[in-house]
Every structure is written in structure tokens, then in C-alpha cells.
Symmetry: C2
Subunit: 125 residues, 2 copies
Amino acid sequence: MLNEKLLEVLLHPADGEVAIVTQGIDGPHVINTWNSYVNITPDGRMLIPAGRMNKTEKNIEGNHLVKLTIGNREVQGLSYKGTGFLITGTAKFIKDGAEFNIMKTKFSWIRAVLEITIETSVQTL
Amino acid sequence: MLNEKLLEVLLHPADGEVAIVTQGIDGPHVINTWNSYVNITPDGRMLIPAGRMNKTEKNIEGNHLVKLTIGNREVQGLSYKGTGFLITGTAKFIKDGAEFNIMKTKFSWIRAVLEITIETSVQTL
């Protein structure tokens, strides 16, 4: 699910914004993180540091489906410079264990790790 | 509603991704555009070129509330370099008239203009 172009975006030195969308009972909710904050596990899950994300956590307790957009204006896309991905997946908050501890050493301010298991990843641009 | 920091993000030479979220009957929908594509009218509306955006258009026919996130890693935020905004508003697709024509001269590939009337704009970072 993680192709080379997406990794190129995530590893690009010109950092960009990731949008993370969940379904709330009062409508969709959207928060952001940075491309450089997204860690990829060997089996292709995304681990994202969570400082607040309280409403996102509440929403996924009701509906664990999430959508993410990730892009970078400096990476060559399908038809011009600038590419973007739409990722769908399922989310879970991790608050202890080995993966939480590794993330905590990288991001001391986290209260949890948002784990995304990717279902689909589409290059939109 | 359009403070100087948001304008700094929109006008920054290091372009970034905007996420535009709508509510569909099948869940939230998210698309992207670039900061540099967002035009601000003298009265503070956002005009965004629409090439496709067919599902976004369909969604706003049912529910015209939208959420946008806009940010830039290079612009000083509340506590470090990197800032972001969460904007809520109402959306409409414009397919003719003076504002459509002006946008068409700037973006020849558009089929419509997505007009956002801002309700709230919050600096989140």
C-alpha cells in the first residue's frame, strides 16, 4: 500500500501538512499533522504522534474509519510538480507498549499514538 | 476573518496543501488544493478553482457546510515554526459571472469556482 512516491512525500525535506478526517456525530472533523511526523512501520502501518486529538479519538470510538490526505508541492506528480495522496484506513489510539515507547522517545510531548492501518492509498495528483 | 497570519500562509512562496472537507451521505469526503490557488475577494470570501470536485459539489448540494485546513511549515506558528488554520464556512459552486471569468483567466482548466464564505477561522498551531 505504501508506494515509493508516497514515501518520497513523507521523507521530503520540505515538510507539508497531513489532514486527518474522522466522522463525528455532529459532522466531519479534520485535524493536521506534518509529513515528517508520520512514521511507517515495517508492515506498513502509520504511527502518528498525538498531543491532543481528543475529538479525533472520541470520533474513532464511534467510527474507526479515517481518511488522510498527504502531499507535497515539490514532488513530481502525475502531470506536474506537486503530488497528493488520499489514504483510507482504520484508526486506533495506542497508549502503551513498544511502539508507543519508541514514538515517545522521538516526540516527548505525546499522550498517545494514532495508528492507521491503510486500506487504500490513491495518488490523486 | 482573514488575519495577517493566514494571508502570510496563503501568499508564502513555499506552497502547501489545503484540505477541503464535506459531509457525504456515505461519510466525510476530503479533497486538496494548493495554498497558491486560493484567491481572496475584497470582502473576504475564498475563491478556489475547481477542475473536478464532482463529489464535493454533490455533497454541498445536500449540506453546504465545509471545513478547510490550511498551513505552512515555514511560517511561524503559536509556539514553533509551522502554523495551521481550521476554517469553517459555507460553500457554493459558481459557473458563470464576473468572478468565474476572472478565475478562468488565471486557471484555464477550471469547470467552476468553489466559493467559500468563511464563518470561523482558528489558528490551531
